[in-house]
Assembly symmetry: C2
Homo-oligomer: 365 residues x 2
């Protein structure tokens, strides 16, 4: 029985990189049915929501969702194009990926980081919590009345007064911690990583980090063959830049995970090689980490490799592990020659040329 | 009139790196009076506080404070050495540098990042806010009653209940924002940096980041010759790893600044080259970014270069700009040969040999 993949190209370079990478599914002879759907800024402009109901329906009946790229916050150019009435409403635009994560409860954001460009080999994965932390939606430009007594003693708050004191809450819950920690250990077990590193800030956020440690210790007990450690998030950033080979699975709350996984992209040589998976109990979406890059759209220079690696992650998730390996190997092969990669990796190839090289390598390797 | 510098060696390798670097003050013939004082874990053990009153007095009558390194959180070994009664009290130990920052209101944490090890040259500075943000001390392993109604609607909180929901507040105030932003622009002006970058998270923490933008725009108006931009903190991390030459002055709230400045250390080739200054209206301290590294203490292998560069920052602050430049040049000179740098930079020199090479170069360059 063939599985269904919802393909949501989205904004900017999203459609271009998916067009380039999708043929790999046929090339590998995989029994998948692709159904295209609408998402992104365009649909906010024309229909008032970046994720129309028909798209939610499509997602609902699919086994996996493949996303190209979407506008997270409309830029100056996007706003300039709008009718004045719409421009006023633009601040209410909510990034489609934030909507997907929240509505589908996609709690695990997986970001593999691998040495595709040579040097000391490394392969680690950032497992980012995706539903709470500083992304819980608890953010105010004026501390709410209820909270003010808790804050008012701080000298800066006293000097500034409530109307000039902002607050954002990093919320960690037992539910959120337990499922992401368990996911991290399962991932380590499945991929043969010997160690899980929790990136947190126990020397400063003492109480909340102590609670995270408690949960970590309890869950780790179910995985006796896997080591674990807690490192300060700042130290993880430093070591990721210096010795990425040190890491196996890094698990982190939402904001720390956001920073560390983008940094992983930097370490790899740019977001052009960074895929991601967002996974929950009842849904998922797979997406290159890069954005819609409006300035690059239509130039034929967008790097399709992150899209290929994203298809690889999706294939792995659907049980086609061998095919996923072939995609990764093909990407490795292609990055060895500068005339096959795009400008962002120091190459000269166009999107199409780079994609053709990967498809070629998929047959050859 | 000679200025007074309080020298607080502290724990672990702190005393070793200061002993190695301090002779540069005499070598450069600077009219400074050094007074040594007590700080660190040792004094918590013996006197119940890591910063005895006599040290606060010394700090009070000094023009600048030079710190070696202190224990931020006692490690396993430190705890094992304690009498059981003390071991129980150890969780109450508060890092001396956190105490200094709070009590002296040292709001600006300056971390210059420079390409001492070759490659594409870069020189930028992270200006980290040091008194609020997620470091405001608002951290609970159980959301306080007053806050619960604000949080309880989040699905994870609803599932977990109040007793299993933690909260930490990122607090930004007008007072805190204004002074750090102004400091960043002043620093850019004084050092000829054409641009200030605010690292924040406007696409997620919309309200508090919008307030930060408001303050930025108002203060930037006083510095018309300096450009400014707001970037997502994750993008700053990525670009710092990829193109550090892109940046001039990066200003960030406390936690983002903590992560980015350690990452700056990683980009430079390790904390062995990372100095810092902590500055307020009525006080300061200067310190290498590295910790006390208890495992390294006594081995003669600690890298003294961060301590030299820290003395350089201190000299600049006291008005000895030319001498500061000489120290930086001497460090640049020394890093060019592997037999003059320590193991962490791939070299073979001991602390003493490396320090001797810097002192030599201070005469020579
Ligand atoms: C677009 C933005 C809201 C998003 C995030 O911060 O999570 C992005 O940076 C990511 O990492 O997926
Ligand atoms: C020791 C620790 C409390 C401190 C911090 O997080 O501020 C350190 O990491 C630093 O960056 O100075």
């Amino acid at each position: 029985t063939s599985k269904t993949v919802a393909v949501l190209p989205g904004d900017g370079i999203g459609p271009e990189v998916l067009d380039a990478a999708l043929p790999v599914i046929d090339a590998l002879g995989l029994p998948l049915t692709l159904e295209h759907g609408d998402i992104g800024w365009e649909f906010w402009r024309t229909e008032g929501t970046p994720v129309p109901q028909r798209t939610w329906d499509l997602i609902g009946r699919s086994d996996a969702v493949l996303l190209g790229a979407t506008t997270s916050k409309p830029g100056r150019e996007a706003l300039a194009d709008l009718a004045p009435r719409l421009r006023e409403q633009a601040p209410q635009y909510v990034s489609p990926i934030i909507q997907l994560r929240q509505r589908l409860d996609l709690f695990a954001n997986l970001r593999p980081v691998e040495s595709y460009l040579g040097g000391t080999p490394y392969r680690f994965c950032v497992v980012r919590e995706n539903t709470e932390g500083l992304y819980a939606g608890l953010d105010w430009d004026q501390v709410p009345e209820e909270m003010w007594p808790l804050v008012a003693d701080h000298p800066n708050a006293r000097i500034s007064g409530r109307e000039a004191t902002t607050a954002s809450v990093r919320m960690l819950t037992r539910h959120g911690l337990d499922r992401i920690l368990r996911y991290a250990f399962e991932h380590a077990r499945a991929h043969g990583h010997p160690r899980v590193t929790l990136a947190d800030k126990p020397n400063v956020l003492r109480r909340s980090s102590a609670y995270a440690r408690e949960r970590l210790e309890e869950i780790a007990a179910d995985y006796p063959e896997i080591e674990y450690e807690i490192l300060n998030v700042d130290a993880v950033a430093l070591w990721m830049a210096r010795r990425p080979e040190r890491f196996g699975v890094i698990v982190a709350e939402n904001m720390f995970g956001d920073i560390l996984s983008d940094l992983g992209g930097g370490v790899m040589g740019g977001l052009g090689l960074a895929p991601s998976a967002n996974i929950g109990e009842h849904g998922n979406y797979f997406e290159p980490v890069h954005g819609s890059a409006p300035a690059l759209a239509g130039t034929g220079r967008a790097n399709p490799l992150a899209a290929f690696l994203t298809v690889g992650l999706l294939l792995e998730h659907l049980g086609f592990g061998e095919a996923a390996g072939q995609v990764r190997d093909a990407v490795s092969h292609v990055t060895r020659r500068r005339d096959r990669v795009t400008y962002d990796l120091g190459g000269t190839a166009t999107t199409t040329e780079c994609a053709a090289a990967v498809l070629d390598a998929c047959g050859a390797v």
